[in-house]
C-alpha cells in the first residue's frame, strides 16, 4: 500500500511541477465553460429581411409592418430593385428578400389574388426551415389583422382555432445553458482525462523511464493504480471547479443529490482513464497516442447525445451510442442536475459505466503483462 501511495505522490508531484499542465488543468474548464455556454446556441433569434416594395401603398406598408411586429424579423434593407437587394443577400446581410409587386393593393381590393415573392437563403438549412414556418405564421396573422380585413373586406375564418398551451417541464426558464452545462462539464473531463492519461505512459516509454519502472519491485496493480489515481483526482478537481463556476456564474441549479453526481463522475472517470491508459499501452509514440485519443474523443463526444439527439440517429448509429460511455454520463448528469433523479433512475447508467470500467481496466491489466 505504501508503495502505491508513493507512486501516486510521485505522479502528483510531477503534475504540479509542470506549470503548463497546471495552467491547462485550471484554465480549460473555465475558458470552455464560458465560451461554450455563450456560443452554443441554436435558437434563431431573428431573421434579417430585405424588402422591395414596388407598391408603396397602405396595404403594402401594413403587410411590411406585420412582418416587423411578429418579432421574428428585422427589416435590414429596403431596396429599390432586385439587383440591389440581391447584393445584400449575397453578402449575407439579409436572409430573406420580400418583393411586393406594384399592383398589390389594387388587386386585393378588386378581388384578384396578387403574388408576393420571397427568396430565402437556404445555405443554413435549419434557418431556412424556421424562416419558412415564421413566414407562414406571419401571413396568417396578417390575414386576421384589422388593416387587412377592413381594406379588403376578406373575412378570414381563422377566428376559429385550436389553441395550444405549452408546458415546458424540467426546465421552466427554457434555459439553454442549463441544458448544455452538464454536458459541457462532461466534455471537459473527458478530453483532459483521456489525453493526459494516454500521453503519460507513452512519454515514459519514449523517454525510457518506463524501463526503470519495470525493474523495480512493484506489482502491475500498483503501477496501474499509481498512474490512474492521480488523474482521477485531477478529473474530480476539474469537475468541481467547473461545477462551482456553473453554479455561481451561470446560476445552474442542481436539482438532485450532489453526492450522487460525484459517484457518477467517479465511475465515469474510472472508464475514461482506463481507456486512456489502454491507448497508451498500444501506442509507441506520443503522437500515435495523441491521434488515437483524439479519434476516440471525437466519437465519444459527437455520439453522446450532447449536441444532437440520439433518437434522430439511424439504427446502426444508435447501437454505437450504446457502447459510448460519454452517452451514459451525459444522460445521468442531465437526469440528476435537471430532473433531480434518484439513484434508482440512474441505475442503468451507473451499472453500464461500472461494467465498462471493470472491463477496460481488466484488459489493461492483462495487456500490460505482455509488454512488461
Amino acid at each position: 500500500m505504501n508503495v502505491t501511495l508513493e507512486l501516486i505522490r510521485k505522479e502528483l508531484l510531477q503534475i504540479f511541477r509542470n506549470k503548463l499542465i497546471m495552467r491547462v488543468i485550471i484554465m480549460a474548464p473555465v475558458v470552455q465553460l464560458i465560451v461554450l455556454v455563450f456560443a452554443a446556441n441554436f435558437e434563431i433569434k431573428h431573421l434579417n429581411l430585405g424588402v422591395i416594395d414596388r407598391d408603396n401603398t397602405a396595404l403594402s406598408h401594413s403587410m411590411k409592418n406585420s412582418f416587423v411586429s411578429s418579432g421574428y424579423f428585422k427589416i435590414k434593407d429596403i431596396s429599390k430593385n432586385y439587383t440591389e437587394a440581391l447584393k445584400e443577400f449575397d453578402k449575407e446581410n439579409v436572409d430573406i428578400i420580400l418583393e411586393i409587386p406594384d399592383n398589390f393593393e389594387r388587386d386585393l381590393k378588386n378581388g384578384i389574388r396578387p403574388s408576393i415573392f420571397l427568396a430565402v437563403n437556404a445555405i443554413n438549412s435549419m434557418k431556412a426551415g424556421v424562416a419558412s414556418s415564421y413566414i407562414a405564421k406571419t401571413m396568417e396573422t396578417y390575414y386576421t389583422s384589422d388593416a387587412f380585413q377592413k381594406a379588403t373586406k376578406i373575412i378570414s375564418s381563422s377566428q376559429s382555432s385550436i389553441n395550444i398551451e405549452y408546458s415546458d417541464w424540467y426546465n421552466p426558464h427554457l434555459d439553454y445553458k442549463s441544458y448544455m452545462l452538464p454536458g459541457i462539464l462532461c466534455v471537459i473531463i473527458t478530453i483532459m482525462g483521456i489525453l493526459l492519461t494516454a500521453l503519460n505512459v507513452v512519454r515514459e516509454k519514449e523517454i525510457g523511464t518506463i524501463e526503470q519502472l519495470n525493474v523495480i519491485p512493484i506489482t502491475k496493480a500498483q503501477f496501474i493504480i499509481g498512474k490512474l489515481v492521480p488523474f482521477l483526482l485531477v478529473g474530480i478537481v476539474q469537475f468541481t471547479l467547473g461545477t462551482i463556476i456553473a453554479v455561481s456564474l451561470f446560476s445552474l441549479h442542481i436539482e438532485g443529490s450532489i453526492f450522487l453526481l460525484y459517484i457518477m463522475i467517479f465511475v465515469y472517470l474510472f472508464v475514461i482513464l482506463g481507456i486512456g491508459f489502454f491507448i497508451s499501452l498500444i501506442s509507441e509514440t506520443q503522437s500515435q497516442a495523441m491521434f488515437v485519443s483524439l479519434f476516440c474523443m471525437f466519437i465519444f463526444i459527437l455520439m453522446s447525445g450532447l449536441f444532437t439527439p440520439i433518437e434522430s440517429m439511424p439504427y446502426w448509429a444508435q447501437k454505437i451510442v450504446m457502447v459510448n460511455p460519454t452517452y451514459y454520463m451525459v444522460d445521468a448528469m442531465r437526469l440528476i442536475i435537471l430532473k433531480g433523479s434518484t439513484f434508482y433512475n440512474v441505475i442503468r447508467d451507473f451499472s453500464v459505466l461500472l461494467a465498462m470500467g471493470v472491463i477496460i481496466n481488466l484488459m489493461t491489466f492483462k495487456f500490460y503483462k505482455k509488454v512488461n
Binding site: L20, I21, Q32, F38, A39, A40, F42, K45, D90, L108, R113, P114, S115, I116, F117, L118, A119, V120, I123, N124, S125, M126, A128, V130, Y143, S156, S158, S160, I162, N163, I164, E165, S167, D168, W169, N171, L174, Y179, I191, L195, L199, R203, S283, Q286, S287, M290, F291, F295, I299, L302, M303, F307, T308, P309, E311, S312, M313, I320, K339, N345
Partner: protein, 366 residues
C-alpha cells in the same frame, strides 16, 4: 533545394513507418464524414409521444391519429392519468405528451375555440422546440381542414424560393467545417507536435549546427504534412460528392486554392506553437485549446456566429477557421470566384506570414 530533399525524404519515411498514425490520418476523415452525414441530425425523428385523450370523441380521435401518423413521432404506451406523466418523463419513456381535454368536439363546435396542452421535456431544448413546431403545424393544418372556409386558397399567393440550397440539405452545413477541423488536426497539431519532439529530444540543436538554415528545417518538416492534409481534403470532397451528392458550384481550382492557403495558415500556427512549448504534451495541449476547440465551436461550424453575443462574434474573427469556412462556402455553394473571397484569402495569408515570421524569430533565439 538539394540540401533540403534528403531532409524531406527522412520526414516522409518517419511518417510512413508509423503505420498506426497513418491509418488514423486516413480513417479519421472517413469516419467523421460518415458520422456527420448519417448519424448527426439536427432534425427530430421518432420522438416518443403519448396522447392523453380525455374526450375520445370523433374529432379528438381524428386529431390523435393525425399526430401519430406523422413520421416524426412514435407512439409510446398510452398514459392513462396525469400523474403517470412525471414518472414516464423521468424514465425517458416519452419526450412529449399531448393532452386533449374532455368535451373537445363539443367546445369547438359551440364556441369555435378550444385548447389542447402540449407538455415537452424541456431538458433537451433543441428537440423540444422542434417538436413543438411540428405539432403546432399539424394542429393548424387540422384546424384549416375542419373549418369551412370560403377560401380554399389564401388571399395572397406566396411564391417562396429557396436559394442556394433548394433541397435544404444538411451537407452544406458540415462539410466546410469538417474540412477545417481535419486540416487543423493534421497540419497544425501534427506539425507542432513533430517539431516540438525534435526540441524535446535535443535533435533540433544538431539540426541547427548543420548547413540547413532554420527556415529550411521548418519547411522540410511541414511539407509532408501539407501533402497528407491535401490527400485528406481530396478524400473528404470525393466522399461528399460520391455519397452525399454534394454539388460544387464553384471551380475546383478555387476550392483547392482556399484549402492550401488555410493549410499554410494552420501549419504556420502549428510552427508557432512548437516555438513556444518545450514538450510534446505541451504542444498538444496548447494546440488543442487554441486551435482545435475554437475551430469546432467558434468558427461557425456547429453554432452559427450570428447567434453569439457580440464580444464572442469578434473573438471568432481571430480564428482562421472562421475565414476559411466563409471562403469555402462562397466557393462551394454560391459558386463565386476570387473577387468574392479575396478578403478572406488576404486575412488568412497575412496570419500565415505573421506566425511564420514570429516563429522564425523565436527559433533563431533558441
Amino acid at each position: 533545394m538539394n540540401k533540403l530533399s534528403p531532409f524531406i525524404r527522412k520526414e516522409f519515411y518517419h511518417i510512413f513507418r508509423d503505420k498506426k498514425t497513418l491509418l488514423i490520418i486516413f480513417v479519421l476523415p472517413i469516419v467523421l464524414i460518415t458520422l456527420f452525414g448519417f448519424a448527426i441530425r439536427s432534425e427530430v425523428r421518432d420522438a416518443t409521444i403519448t396522447i392523453l385523450d380525455k374526450s375520445k370523441d370523433e374529432m379528438s380521435i381524428e386529431l390523435t391519429n393525425k399526430i401519430l401518423a406523422s413520421k416524426y413521432f412514435i407512439n409510446s404506451a398510452n398514459v392513462l392519468t396525469d400523474s403517470e406523466l412525471d414518472e414516464r418523463f423521468k424514465n425517458k419513456d416519452i419526450s412529449v405528451a399531448v393532452i386533449i381535454p374532455d368535451n373537445f368536439s363539443r367546445d369547438f363546435k359551440k364556441s369555435g375555440t378550444t385548447t389542447i396542452q402540449i407538455i415537452t421535456d424541456a431538458t433537451n431544448l433543441n428537440t423540444s422546440t422542434i417538436i413543438k413546431q411540428y405539432i403546432s403545424s399539424i394542429v393548424s393544418a387540422f384546424t384549416k381542414e375542419k373549418l369551412k372556409s370560403p377560401y380554399i386558397k389564401d388571399p395572397i399567393n406566396m411564391s417562396l424560393r429557396l436559394v442556394y440550397n433548394p433541397e435544404l440539405r444538411d451537407v452544406y452545413m458540415f462539410v466546410p467545417g469538417l474540412l477545417a477541423l481535419i486540416l487543423t488536426l493534421i497540419s497544425a497539431i501534427m506539425s507542432s507536435v513533430s517539431l516540438t519532439k525534435e526540441k524535446e529530444t535535443g535533435t533540433l540543436s544538431i539540426l541547427k549546427v548543420s548547413p540547413l538554415r532554420i527556415y529550411h528545417i521548418i519547411i522540410g518538416k511541414l511539407i509532408p504534412y501539407l501533402f497528407l492534409s491535401l490527400i485528406d481534403v481530396i478524400i473528404v470532397i470525393a466522399m461528399s460528392i460520391a455519397i452525399f451528392d454534394m454539388p460544387i458550384n464553384g471551380s475546383y481550382i478555387m476550392l483547392f486554392l482556399v484549402c492550401i492557403i488555410f493549410l499554410l495558415t494552420a501549419l504556420s500556427i502549428g510552427v508557432f506553437v512548437s516555438s513556444i512549448t518545450d514538450t510534446q504534451q505541451g504542444a498538444l495541449l496548447v494546440s488543442i485549446i487554441s486551435l482545435f476547440l475554437p475551430t469546432t465551436l467558434l468558427s461557425g461550424f456547429i453554432y452559427p456566429i450570428e447567434n453569439m453575443p457580440v464580444i464572442l462574434q469578434w473573438l471568432c474573427q481571430i480564428f482562421p477557421a472562421t475565414w476559411f469556412i466563409e471562403a469555402i462556402k462562397t466557393v462551394m455553394i454560391k459558386g463565386e470566384g476570387f473577387h468574392f473571397i479575396w478578403m478572406q484569402l488576404l486575412v488568412l495569408s497575412s496570419m500565415a506570414i505573421f506566425f511564420i515570421s514570429l516563429s522564425i524569430k523565436k527559433y533563431n533565439k533558441i
